[in-house]
């Protein structure tokens, strides 16, 4: 049974990374087959902070959020929406 653990962790990490934590928003959708899709929105000037040089920070966010989902047996995809 999926929880909102991965979503809460993503919000927490994103708020830690950005200059404007109030603008962080995460939407959660469930796809057929049980995959969870998380859509991350941040303030326009904060996209660089969550993507990072060469996409390293986005990659790190994906890796950690996937681990949180794997811990409860679910599968998660992370979209950074702009």
């Amino acid at each position: 049974m999926p929880t909102d653990n991965p979503k809460r962790l993503l919000e927490y990490l994103a708020e830690g990374l950005v200059d404007d934590p109030d603008a962080v928003a995460v939407e959660q959708f469930e796809e057929d087959g049980g995959t969870i899709v998380l859509e991350l929105c941040v303030a326009a000037e904060d996209y660089g902070r969550v993507i990072g040089r060469g996409g390293r920070t986005a990659h790190a966010l994906r890796t950690v959020v996937k681990a949180a989902a794997a811990g409860e047996g679910s599968h998660v995809l992370l979209d950074i929406v702009d």
Binding site: Y12, L13, L17, D19, A70
Partner: protein, 164 residues
């Protein structure tokens, strides 16, 4: 307590020193991964180390260390948001970094032996910057090879060349 309702807004909203911020961040991640264990933070020689000691840290480390390396990357940027910091964040779990460094050095020794015996440069698999540094420093002490890095992050890799 301020009137801004910032409680629970994450580390950036709070006035924590780096060690406290790192400890809070790790507690949050460990809990979100559904793991138990003890989180410890210590600072020495410009390195802020966050350590997880527990029975089951496999999920926290991940395949080839990809999860613990991701946590380390995020922790550096969250704890020191102003950019390149003189303090480096290292995340460890049950002695993983030491075991990993020993494995990297053993692999590097084999590759350096190949380079010396063949007289040709040998390329290693891509490594993150802090692991490339371990290999550079280790092989410099051998004295019979030269090392440099090629390629772009995150696919940057070491090349070991025999010294003439």
């Amino acid at each position: 307590m301020t009137d801004q309702g910032d409680e629970g807004e994450g580390i950036a909203a709070e006035d924590l020193d780096p060690a406290e911020a790192l400890e809070e961040l790790l507690e949050e991640i460990v809990e979100s991964l559904g793991l138990g264990g003890e989180v410890e933070v210590e600072e020495a020689d410009g390195i802020l180390t966050g350590r997880l000691e527990g029975e089951d840290v496999g999920l926290f480390i991940g395949r080839h260390g990809q999860t613990i390396d991701a946590v380390q990357h995020l922790a550096q940027r969250i704890v020191f948001p102003e950019g390149p910091s003189s303090v480096r964040v290292v995340i460890d779990a049950n002695g993983y970094r030491q075991r990993r460094a020993e494995a990297l050095c053993a692999e590097a020794d084999d590759a350096a032996d190949d380079a010396v015996s063949s007289g040709k440069p040998v390329e290693l698999d891509p490594l993150p910057p802090f692991e490339r540094r371990i290999v550079h420093e280790y092989l410099r002490e051998r004295g019979d090879v030269d090392t440099h890095s090629e390629g772009n992050e995150p696919e940057r890799y070491l090349v070991i060349s025999p010294l003439p």
